[in-house]
Structures are given as structure tokens and as C-alpha cells.
């Protein structure tokens, strides 16, 4: 039985990502869907509201490429390396050039900012359709004063003020996983981040997988299935989707790239040169991967560390 949901990343992005959408490309360091981000850039999507706790290099690229109108986030950094220069250029007050007046036409990227708990909590509340999420944080910080979406309510049991955040319901979520069947039942292991919450919170879900496996593999371990098929709209078989980030058990992070990104993005022009070659210059992820030397990919491969299986029992 072939599923009507299986398609290429090009089709999935074209069908489910619209200009102006609130998009959540999930992942906490692990399984960042770079291939989807590149396809969004290639298809020149515009005015997106990009949301993610940890916008990293792929969001930096989408910001530089002009896809984003606004960023909803909690930590905008290049993980383990430093800052995101494109994000910074889009938000920092420009320094006046030598002997010139300060620019008056500065239009920064809109931002909406939370703590990690606040943003992952918003997504959890979206996934579980909570009216609002009470949380023990925010109240000692200057964040609430700068973000009207963070409110307080009185705890009816203690009378104390409690910080609350609203649910986040993305128009579209993109989630990359290790293995899924053709209908989108997905096994995820390693750092599980906000993949499940993004899939449940979003109105449309693009799920890509390193491997498409038979339904029987999924059904052999239902506790590993964090995302069930019926919340998924598109299933994309996209090996190496997450490069330069990593996929537990499949390939390691390409740390060299993370460090180079700091250099590449020193100027907007050098950033766009990268984009011309690695995003606009290729048709899809398969072509992108052909440009990376075989030896490098071999270096990123893990040695096996297979888990002790469990027995579900039958009669």
C-alpha cells in the first residue's frame, strides 16, 4: 500500500509552506531539518514567522535570504561556537559609517522572545491545546516587560502571581526523524527536543526521515513512536537532511562547518555567496550531498552502539 503522503521535499515545501506562515523547523541541536530550510530559501518563501527555541544556522540562513519577517525564539546562537551574525545584523542598531549620520531607515527583524522553558512550554501547550501554561520562571526577568504575550494570573490555591504563556500553534512544522513508515509513524531516539510537540501543535506537518521502513518495524516497538501517522501531512525520504547537524546513530555533527559559518557570515555579501553555491546552486539535498567529499562523510559516520532490545510478548 503506497501512501499518498510520500513526496519529495520540493513538493512538500511547495504544498505546505505558504508565504506569511508561522513555521517551526524543530530540533534541539539534533536532527535540524537543514534540507527543508534550503528548499524554503530556494522557493523564495517570504514573510515567514520563524519559531524555534534554538534558531541556529539554518534560521540564520533563512534570515539572510530574506524569508523571515519575525523570529520567535529563546536562544539565538551558533551552538558551541558563538553568535549568529545574520540574526545580529538583522536586529542590532546599525553603527553610523565614519563621518555619516546614523541611518534613519533601519527596519529590524521583529522578535518575540522567551526563555527555553517559556518557548518549549508554549509549544507543549499548543500540542496539548492547553488554554495557557502556568510556569515558575519569567517573573524575576525583564522579558515579560518586553513581551506582552507573557502574562500573570493569580494562583487560585495560593493567591500568588504566576507567570503564564499562551499556546503556540504553528501553521506548519518540519520534523526530521531517524525512521518512519510511509504513513508517517516515526521512531525517534537520542535527544528528542521538541519534535513531538511541534508535530502535535502544528496545523500541517512535514516529516522527513533518514530511512523509510516497513510498518512492521515501527509496530515492533510502539513506545518508540513519538509521532503517529495521523498528525502527519507529508512524508519525505531525505537522507542527510540534517547535515551539518547530526542524527543520533546515523552521522555526527559537521563541526568544521559550524566553525566556518562564523567566517562565512562576517558580511552579508559573503553569506549570499555561500547561498548561491550551496542552496541556489543545487537542485535538492542529493545534489548538495554530492558536493561534499566522500572522506568527510565517512569521518562523520558512527561506529554501532546497538541497544538491548525489549520483548513485548504475544500469545
Amino acid at each position: 500500500m503506497d501512501s499518498v503522503k510520500t513526496m519529495s521535499m520540493k513538493e512538500a515545501v511547495s504544498k505546505y509552506v505558504k508565504d506569511g506562515d508561522l513555521a517551526y523547523l524543530a530540533g534541539f541541536t539534533h536532527m535540524i531539518p537543514f534540507a527543508a530550510g534550503h528548499e524554503i530559501i530556494r522557493q523564495k518563501k517570504r514573510n515567514l514567522v520563524l519559531a524555534r527555541a534554538t534558531p541556529d544556522i539554518i534560521y540564520d540562513q533563512m534570515i539572510a535570504a530574506g524569508c523571515a519577517k519575525k523570529l520567535i525564539f529563546s536562544y539565538a546562537g551558533n551552538p558551541g561556537v558563538g553568535s549568529l551574525r545574520c540574526f545580529r545584523r538583522a536586529t542590532e542598531r546599525p553603527k553610523p559609517k565614519e563621518g555619516q549620520p546614523a541611518p534613519t531607515d533601519w527596519k529590524p527583524l521583529e522578535i518575540e522572545e522567551y526563555t527555553h522553558f517559556g518557548l518549549s512550554g508554549r509549544l507543549f501547550a499548543g500540542a496539548t491545546n492547553m488554554p495557557f501554561l502556568p510556569m515558575r520562571s519569567n517573573i524575576g526577568s525583564d522579558l515579560p516587560a518586553n513581551n506582552p504575550a507573557i502574562k500573570t494570573v493569580k494562583d487560585p490555591f495560593t493567591g500568588d502571581d504566576v507567570s503564564v504563556v499562551p499556546p503556540l500553534r504553528p501553521d506548519v512544522a518540519v520534523v526530521h526523524v531517524q525512521r518512519a513508515d510511509r504513513n508517517g509513524n516515526a521512531h525517534i531516539w537520542g535527544i528528542t527536543g521538541e519534535q513531538k510537540d511541534a508535530a502535535f501543535a502544528a496545523k500541517k506537518v512535514i516529516l522527513s526521515a533518514e530511512e523509510i521502513v516497513d510498518e512492521s518495524v515501527i509496530r515492533s516497538d510502539p513506545n518508540r513512536t513519538l509521532i503517529p501517522d495521523f498528525v502527519v501531512h507529508a512524508v519525505v525520504h531525505e537522507p542527510w537532511c540534517a547535515h551539518p547537524s547530526y542524527v543520533q546513530g546515523y552521522y555526527d555533527r559537521d563541526n568544521e562547518f559550524y566553525m566556518q559559518w562564523d567566517e562565512v557570515t562576517k558580511e552579508h555579501e559573503t553569506t549570499m555567496k555561500y547561498m548561491d553555491e550551496w542552496v541556489f546552486g543545487v537542485e535538492d539535498r542529493a545534489e548538495y550531498m554530492k558536493k561534499i567529499p566522500r572522506e568527510k562523510l565517512d569521518r562523520l559516520k558512527f561506529k554501532p552502539a546497538v541497544c538491548t532490545p525489549v520483548d513485548f510478548g504475544t500469545m
Binding site: 536562544y75 558551541g80 542590532e92 542598531r93 527555553h116 522553558f117 521538541e194 543520533q248 555533527r253
Partner: protein, 253 residues
């Protein structure tokens, strides 16, 4: 006497603050090294929890980021991002958290958001991440930082993570479950916080450092404890153990 860098000094002094069986929320870099050092010395049952949801990791290399695959393979447990913050941090299961920041002020408030005005910043920093959540919910906050005048400010431009706000009265009013800042470990000294007022107070000078050296790098009139201790110098064992943790010198300088 053994040679050591100022980063090694900070890490070794911070590691001494950890007790066996405590749960520590660990970040990469200096906190990771400090926690691993304590585990190899006085705290073999230290429970290391990472913001990424990895619990009790047993890494086969130095983690490159807080979400490194080496923190997963062979860990005791893994949970999702929301679960990590909800079950562990808000759940009150974490004893110690390490924080740093671009600015730290005299009540231990930390800024990792912006230099300048929020809406038109001179420098846009990465933001809170889990820092504000950690500051609000763990029993002890240990701040590790180089002792530079540009980092120590009388009042932070933006309070990302609450210390004792503008004094302990204001902090008590927040009713946070966390214990607030506990120690600031720099390459010059260790500072703790006045029980009554919550003001940062010099309590121990690192080898060869004088009160004036600290004051010179602290732009407000720093409170000094009635009796200032001398921080014992890093031992050969501490130094050797620390260097054994990062043999490739990925972080250690």
C-alpha cells in the same frame, strides 16, 4: 608551585563548590569541565543533567555542544526539552546550576540579552535560553566568569536571569523556588552574597591577588567580608585531573 591558566583556576575553584550526590545542570565549556572534575575528585555520585534532556551522561569525548550525541550514547536517561525543564528544573530536582553572561551586577543579576536598549541594541546577545529558568529554580547558582570590568556592572542593561534583583527583599517578594546566586568564581577571587541584603561580597582571594586588584576590575565599591579567606592554590592532582578530562584542549586554555 604548579603552573595553571586563569581558566584552569576558575574551573578548579568552581569544582570545589560541588558536593557528592548533588544534581547539577551542566552547560558546555567551563561548567562541563568543573562538573566532570568534581565527579573525578570529591563527588563521584554527582548527577549531571544537561539542558538538552540528557541525564547521567557518560560521554566518549568532549561534547561540542550541549546537545552532542556523546551525551546520549550511554546516558542513564533522556527526555524531551519541555520535560527537562518541567520534570527536572521546575520539578525542583536540581541542586546546582552554572551560569555566565555578558554582564553581572552587584546583586548577581545576569544579562545575556542585549547591550544597550532592548528595541535598538548596540549588541544583540543570544538571549536567555534556559538561564532565567535555571536562575529561578535551582538551589544554588554558581557564576563562572573572567573578572573583567566590562562584565561587572553596577546594574545590568537587561535583567535576563534574576539574581537578588535590587536586594533580598525584592527577591523574596518573587517567591522563586530557587535559592538565588550562591557564588561568583572569577580568576581573581570568589564572591558570595550577603545574607541580609543579597549584595555581592568578596569572600576569598585567589593566590597572589589583593583586594585592590579585585576592586580595580569591579566598577562599584565592592563589599568585602570581615574576614577574607585565601583560596588554596590548585593542587597538582586537581590540575592533572582537569587536563586529563580535556586532553585535546578543546576548551582548556
Amino acid at each position: 608551585m604548579a603552573e595553571y591558566s586563569s581558566m584552569e583556576l576558575r574551573i578548579i575553584v568552581a569544582a570545589r563548590e560541588l558536593r557528592d550526590h548533588e544534581s547539577v545542570l551542566v552547560g558546555v565549556g567551563e561548567p562541563n569541565l568543573a562538573a566532570n572534575l568534581a565527579k573525578k575528585l570529591q563527588a563521584p555520585n554527582l548527577n549531571m543533567v544537561y539542558e538538552s534532556g540528557a541525564i547521567g551522561s557518560n560521554p566518549y569525548r568532549m561534547p561540542l555542544s550541549i546537545g552532542d550525541p556523546c551525551l546520549v550514547t550511554g546516558a542513564k536517561s533522556i527526555c524531551s526539552m519541555y520535560e527537562q525543564f518541567a520534570y527536572y528544573l521546575q520539578g525542583g530536582k536540581i541542586d546546582v546550576g552554572f551560569l555566565g553572561g555578558a554582564q553581572i551586577d552587584k546583586f548577581g543579576n545576569i544579562n545575556s540579552t542585549v547591550i544597550g536598549a532592548y528595541n535598538s541594541p548596540k549588541v544583540r546577545l543570544p538571549g536567555s535560553g534556559g538561564a532565567c529558568d535555571i536562575a529561578s529554580n535551582v538551589k544554588k547558582i554558581i557564576i563562572i566568569t573572567p573578572h573583567e570590568a566590562r562584565r561587572f556592572v553596577e546594574k545590568v542593561d537587561f535583567r535576563t536571569s534574576p539574581g537578588f534583583v535590587d536586594g533580598k527583599a525584592a527577591w523574596r517578594h518573587l517567591k522563586l523556588q530557587g535559592g538565588g546566586p550562591y557564588a561568583v568564581v572569577t580568576d581573581l577571587c570568589t564572591m558570595k552574597f550577603d545574607e541580609e541584603t543579597g549584595e555581592m561580597t568578596l569572600v576569598s582571594l585567589h593566590p597572589g591577588v589583593k583586594v585592590e586588584d579585585v576592586q580595580k576590575n569591579t566598577p562599584w565599591k565592592l563589599k568585602v567580608a570581615a574576614k577574607v579567606e585565601q583560596t588554596p592554590a590548585p593542587t597538582e592532582k586537581e590540575i592533572a585531573t582537569l587536563r586529563g578530562i580535556d586532553p585535546g584542549k578543546i576548551y582548556l586554555r
